[in-house]
Symmetry: D3
Subunit: 292 residues, 6 copies
């Protein structure tokens, strides 16, 4: 008898307590970073999410833009400007962001996921009125004499209507959300994917929010990982400037989700193969957990 | 008392027999042509479709590409080639078609429709595995010495999985479908919107398929409209060459829908304001009706 | 192309915001007065109510007695007496009221409504225990030396059991209620139709109560219409004697409905053709609105 | 310990096999004759029907007119004419029949039944489009020189739409049907109650049809009861003239019900107290059973 | 006509008000004592419970062990010890108790009940995690020098998970519960059947708990029955020592049920034939009622 | 990062195609033999079955008696006799079989399974009327002069009523069936567990039947495993005497299941740890597959 077969069976039964614990629960995954540009990692993440659905979870994916947006902008002769990690967005940029995000990146994920078993359905924040947006306030650039800069079509989330997500979940579909939003005049906005994931997790009172990033989690000033942090801890670290600009929207997404009633949020390293399953199906988990 | 008010009420009660007749019925609308490039007509079509939903119908919209695809190709320095009304599609073209169709045109319709009351959800043929495609056979160009031309990523419909449409209908949403398709290897194809609408209408056993075109319907050689035609009539007209190249995919869509059990199909002039409502809510209707 | 067709379509799309606003909402209509004796008005009211159902509302009709009760009493050699707009009712009168109301007027409305599309079901206050009644207290006649008069089988509403209405609504039927009631000993009472409509609207927490009367609404002492009045306004007007005896039960019905949680109540002129649709589907509405 | 208590408990447990056998089954009861004019018998029948519902059956009652119609006609100075047990019905008569049947007799039954626990809902053949009617063919009177007589507003059943009965059954209500009908022009007809009960039983594919009459069942020429008869037996007896004019509509109702798939039909003596329960809950039953 | 038939029908209609009152209500029956050892009484109890289900109640049965456990222990050469009516239970005894209770007595009841119409399903406290148990505290024996005795595998109820009972009720099954329990380490305990019935009634917020015992109910010191007692009365009687050791677990079961929201509890004499039906279907009832 | 964690994740994602394929499918497992007497194997089997439920399958377990029945019989001084693998069963034996099977073995499995996550519910063939039995025909012993022997209370399956299994499946419970049966007179029979599993799989039109045995599957005369056999192959092997007495009931169970519409049946070696998962989640599977 094949000994490796038995070892594999052992792995499956060891996963049982975790499978039981998350049965029927909604888990929102923010997908982005290296896990999105590396083809092998992408295959793994997609397989992990389909597996999550088939072992009884209700995954909802929110993805960011990848290198494709930059490429498309370069092709169109546009140079991106970023402030606080937010892309300054004029109308021409917004058109590119939207078509590439919704028609390109999102559809590619849907295709991959359906090949693994899906069934996935792509959504934007406009579909079913999922994300209501409003224009973000202008930001001050860095430095003492920095100008106040209008971010253009960068939007904040004014509200989430989760009905389309509930309808798809009950139909057994995996929703894949491209984070655009629309205001009451029908103007389209670019929405930060981390914050969209946090708000959606809160609106669904999800069990978990997991953000795939390119670092191991939240690090202390010496570069050591914090395995768990409370909300208070995190707010203290922000105040103390320990949490850097790149990590800030992710941490804020966690805080928003926790306010909305999500039980646990996780910032994990998407460069680790199958990081999602490691977080969900092992006792120690990976990355930093921010809890209520 | 305001006499125009009373006249308006009269109009509403005159619509009652039609409203009753279509209550709870699925109506597939192929949206394209001039009604899509003219901003006022577009507003009207969108309002008509939202009205259809609120008076009890279950509309499903399938849209084609509009001038935006041509523009995007021109911007990218690509020149389109058409054979039998089908766009020869290489990979670069397909990428543009998909992003503009799914991320541009589709999302614009969703936005408009949600502003009129919706609630609309954009779909591609990939979402929920809606349209399974396969590569179209190469076509012979015109003329005796014409070469056989590979159409590239132009696809035929291999199958429709209407489950996502049913899920959205039952949730009260209006599905707006951008006609892409995907084969078993995950290759994306450009699908003719007329044929996609015909197949979808058949798969849903819709009550009606209505195709918005730029002419009044099917015309006889003297330019006179045929108000009604049976399937046999239509097949005879195709054989006799009365139905021209531009009208052919629309007529084939009707035939496919009728084979699938759809009761009536209509080719109407989208340049007439509110042509959809005139077709649905007046005794004479408009355009050409092709019936079982 | 028929320009009137396009004008008609325009009317339909203008109605869309109102149709959306009342989608799935219960609207109780008190039907009586001239709109019930004039054959053309009757046709219009019935068509309006069927239309309401087909554009997504849930209409419930409560009707009064019309001239038919008077005729039947005259034929039987009985002379009616009224106090405060309430018919003094002995047993012989009650028998005539019940048979004519439930077997005559109600069934005529059901027939008319079913011919327009219905589907209508006639109910009395006895069916499914809809209206529990108790004997009204005796009233003092007018004038200083007026006797206290026992109203006989005139009843007050002791309770509403709306389950039969909910069952019919969910089955897609339009309930048409003849306002009789029964007490715990099985004695049948004549119930004022206005008050029955008000109580039923309250028990269903309807969106609206609309009373069709023979005047334009509540008028000020100079005969000018009050377009809107708050509950407090109305109570003040009753105190000041501005609201006359004929209007009193209608106003009380509005107050009862508002107490029960109905959002808006309307007293409108049933002599205006399609007054119901004008109230529901135009911005200004008609008649007097009494609101929370 | 009370011995009569134990005897009573014995009776209940003896009923168990019958209660189990009819659990969830529809039983149509034609109620008429002496059981309707005698107050004590009426109380018993009503109690029996409420009991049927509470031990799990789904009773549907169809009632005829009683002496009240004759009285009302006499009061109005009209003399009834009968042909083949069918009342010749002019417009004035029809108006009296309808108001007394629907507004009088039906409502009295509803009141009684609700006092016993109900919950009962009165219906006419018009409510929910239950009975579609058409004018009966003229009949030849008796005797060789008899004229052909137009029966006026006597109707035949053109169709049954049982949806309102199903809606009420599922809501737990007992429907009480007054057998009027309406044709496509909205003309009201008088429908024979026996035949209405037979058609309704067939349309519901009821388990049983039970007709309460004033004799013990179908009698042979010597006056002896036939306890069971097959459809063939019955058709032979009609041919041979053994079944008299009064019994004919009842027998025809049984045959119609059997054609519609009803398993057993019973003609029983309504003058026997609790004849319904004796038929349902004892091994021998009572009256004549006509079976498939 | 058979006069006894009519008398029987009378009995059935007299039961109607009680049948209506308990329609759809859950009634928990603790079955034990003489009613379990006497074959005729057993038949009667089983028939009564099946009847309860068919007249619309939702019975749940909890049974104790009967003489069979003693016999099986004797056969195995074990002598039972009882303290406060609780059987001291070592592992060998527990194995016998469980096999005889769950595999013997329970299955015999299921067989009998299914022959009467059922449909019954046997459960232990382990099935679906129905009864969570914990080890009972040691008890002091009687007398001044009495030792403290460990009761072994006698358990207390730590919690009830009624989901399996709800699932079976909704499927139309009658659950028959053998009162074993299991703790978190998987150790099996013997649970007092009276207390199990009380806790289950509370967890289901049953309408009634009925305990079948071998005496007429709670008796005063002169041997006279208390027909009704409030919770306060009962607590006083316990304090005063009026309620003896045998009656104590039954009375405690009533108190637990009442705490859980059960409306009425009854201690009745199972030696009276059909005592259950007499309690449920007669005005006076039997035994002692302990109420909120 | 823990490399073994990643290896484990790999195992999980490799299982995905199998998990998808069996999602929502019923799989009947016959549990017996060594896998039941060895404590470690038992833990594994139970964990495997709970895992099956949590990855979306609907497992139904049928178990045989183990060594415990023999022990209990020895204790009671009874010596078992077997004919064709069937235990000759007198009344005393039947009582032991039933109590040990239903009250002992079944409850032990329920306890184990609930500790792993369950939720399991024990059933006998009597519960909910699951297995209707009839007495088996007498069998001829071996040898030419062998007597015909009455098997006593050994039963054949006369019918399966799967309603209780469906009710439990829909409630999310895992049914564990002890194979007793009952005939119309209420006599209890001992039913072969293999055949019970086969009949139940057929009655549920299960996706698979898996029988855990003590050998690798069906072996050819040289002792080599047949990996797959068609029904025809198997019938040929029976005819040729290749399939021995011990394997016969297992093979017959497969044939009965296949007749009932089960797609695949498997005879596998329960002594291999996690044999169930290896069969379900690896490409090659284990044991012998008998297919349609």
């Amino acid at each position: 008898m094949d000994p490796s077969g038995i070892a594999k069976a052992q792995v499956l039964t060891e996963a049982l307590p975790y499978i039981r614990a998350f049965w029927g629960k909604t888990v929102v995954v923010k997908y982005g970073g290296a896990a999105m540009s590396d083809a092998t990692l992408k295959e793994d993440v997609v397989a992990d999410i389909v597996l999550m659905r088939y072992v009884g979870m209700r995954p909802v994916v929110v993805h960011g833009g990848g290198p494709q947006i930059g490429e498309a902008m370069a092709q169109a002769g546009l140079t991106p400007t970023f402030i606080d990690g937010l892309r300054v967005t004029d109308e021409a940029t917004m058109r590119i962001v939207e078509t590439v995000l919704v028609g390109g990146i999102n559809q590619e994920l849907v295709t991959l996921m359906n090949r693994k078993g899906g069934p996935a359905v792509g959504l934007s924040g406009k579909d079913g009125g999922l994300i209501r947006a409003r224009k973000s306030a202008p930001r001050k650039g860095k430095g003492t004499n920095a100008e106040v800069i209008d971010l253009g079509l960068v939007g904040e989330i004014a509200g989430i209507n989760p009905r389309i997500l509930r309808t798809l979940e009950e139909g057994g579909f995996i929703p894949i959300v491209a984070p655009t939003g629309v205001d009451e005049e029908g103007v389209t906005y670019n929405i930060n994917a981390d914050l969209a994931a946090g708000e959606i997790a809160g609106a669904l009172t999800a069990e978990k929010l997991i953000l795939l990033t390119d670092t191991d989690g939240i690090l202390d000033p010496t570069g050591k990982l914090y395995p768990t942090l409370s909300r208070d801890d995190v707010e203290k670290l922000i105040e103390d400037g320990v949490i850097g600009e790149g990590m800030l929207p992710k941490v804020r997404a966690c805080l928003r989700a926790l306010e909305g009633g999500v039980r646990k949020t996780h910032i994990i390293n998407g460069k680790v193969p199958h990081a999602l399953l490691l977080e969900l199906f092992t006792a120690e988990g990976v990355g930093t957990e921010v809890f209520q």
